[in-house]
Amino acid sequence: MQSYISIENLAKSYGVVHAVNNINLGIEKGEFFSLLGPSGCGKSTLLRMIAGFETPTSGVIRLEGTDVTDVPAHRRPTNMMFQSYALFPHLTVGKNIAFGLQQDGLDKIEIKKRIDDVAEKLQLTALLDRKPAQLSGGQRQRVALARALVKRPKVLLLDEPLGALDKNLRTETQLELVRLQRELGLTFIIVTHDQHEAMTVSTRIAIMKQGQVLQVGSPANVYEAPHSRYVAKFLGETNVFAGGRAERNGDTLQIDSNEAGGQVRATFTDRVALDAPFWVSVRPERVALATSGTGLEGTVEQLTYTGVERHYRVRLNSGAILDARRVNLGAESDLGVGDRVFASWPPQASRLLAE
């Protein structure tokens, strides 16, 4: 079945640099879709091609089945919220929001109605007569959002929309964006380099690297089941050890790891070939530390208290580092720096990764 937005073999090269390298993606109606990756991974270029600001070197972009690849930006049913907000400094907030509607030739009564409507939704009613220079960062961000939303686009494109906000306002705005998106039932595509932001707002995330999409999935899926070491490390923290000889025992694998200095257990999978080099990954919050018992032996080297949790950095006997986290449930830590510990985790917590 054809997706709402379908990106087929899309590529963009600048000379010999492949900014976007043969990407295929399907985005469904009503999704809040994230393009996540470090700077220079091609996520912004991809977004700008969807908006119509960049012409692809090859490939096709379809919207509701229609090929829009060669449709210029001003005729696409998409609207963009720019990283710098790009508010028109010579126009008031109200006229900024009206800009696109006037361009569409709507009558004055309809324009006023729509502006009042969106201004109320985004708490801008009192600011309509101000100039952008007189607004705070958060207010500008809401004006930029209002200006794009008032056009009722089929797809709203957001290019690092919250990058200029401070951390508290950012979290607040992320939740606000999700609420708006659900309420309006629109399709949002957001570009971000902040994995936490992508996890918070998205229905699905595409993780990009060097112009390619490495993995697409729901936040839980890409976090719990990364396909590659890169994705595992990019999304949150993880411990990764090179795996050695593996022995199957029913549903469980016993894996020798020289790097970890012992045996680790994992659930059997045929997704990863065990005769080729592979890695075992485990998230720090899944690691249990005990002063006795079995598991990988090591010494607590560092203990950090962040309020929400305690972070233990353990130097394993093999010399490798293992990170573990424990949610703060009010009790004092029974472990301190220098303590001997045994680290273990259930087989399901291990994730096998190919290169």
Partner: protein, 302 residues
Amino acid sequence: MSAELISSARMGDRWGKRLLIGIPYAWLLVLFLAPFALVAAISLSTVRLGMPPFEPLTAWDGSILNLRLNFENFLYVLTDDTYLLAYLTSLKVAAISTAVMLLIAYPLAYGIASCAPSSRSLLVFLVIVPFWSSMLIRVYSWMSILRNDGLLNALLLKLGLISEPLRILNTETAIYIGIVYTYLPFMVLPIYSNLVSADRTLIEAARDLGCSRISAFWRVTFPLSWPGVAAGCALVFIPVVGEFVIPDLLGGADTQMIGRAIWLEFFNNRDWPMAAAVTIVLLALLVVPIVFFQSRPPRAGA
């Protein structure tokens, strides 16, 4: 560092600032206000034979200091048709040539600003390269181009576009050609520097909101370039009003501009007080557009 040292360092700092601010004020005082006061004083004096060719304003009469202010020159300037006509002609010539320059300079500046950064500096250099030779020489070259048997007429005759030489030199057209040619860079540069620093994302935002390239220009680029346009207009309009050399060399006897009137009063009639009065009225006239351009609200968000 001890407290005294800190405070003496601060003192030095404060004097340094005063000195820095003082330099432009001293400049204005010596090169603008002092000559202006002299001209104003002369304009209120009476013409006489001799050197200097005007009566002093004050006379010491044993025990009384007499101050004689003669307003006759101003009354004459403001009521005489010749001067009124010269003022109006100057304003008209300045207004029309400013408009023509704007029409040429804006597309030129826009074109340069749209070029790749590497070629921009060469193009800007080409705009200002005429300044490398004396303005007088360039105006003389225009005389030889525009003459009845000049280069332009020779070319047009050869091409068969005209059968008889056009009379351009010593007409108002020649004045416009000379002024537009000479002052054009002063219009191009401020507009260029405004356009080149314009935020390109704003154009993309306009395009995203449904503007074609042309409507994005009229709704965003052009209004935001107003400060550059205003600066360019002020930079050419004001000196053109008082322009003397170009109308004198290229224009005819029928186009009397105010700069020429001042020159004639000064050198031909040796009526310094009258020349000074004409100058003061001209200055008063020019203050109006300056105040107009200055009082425009500064670009919001800049």
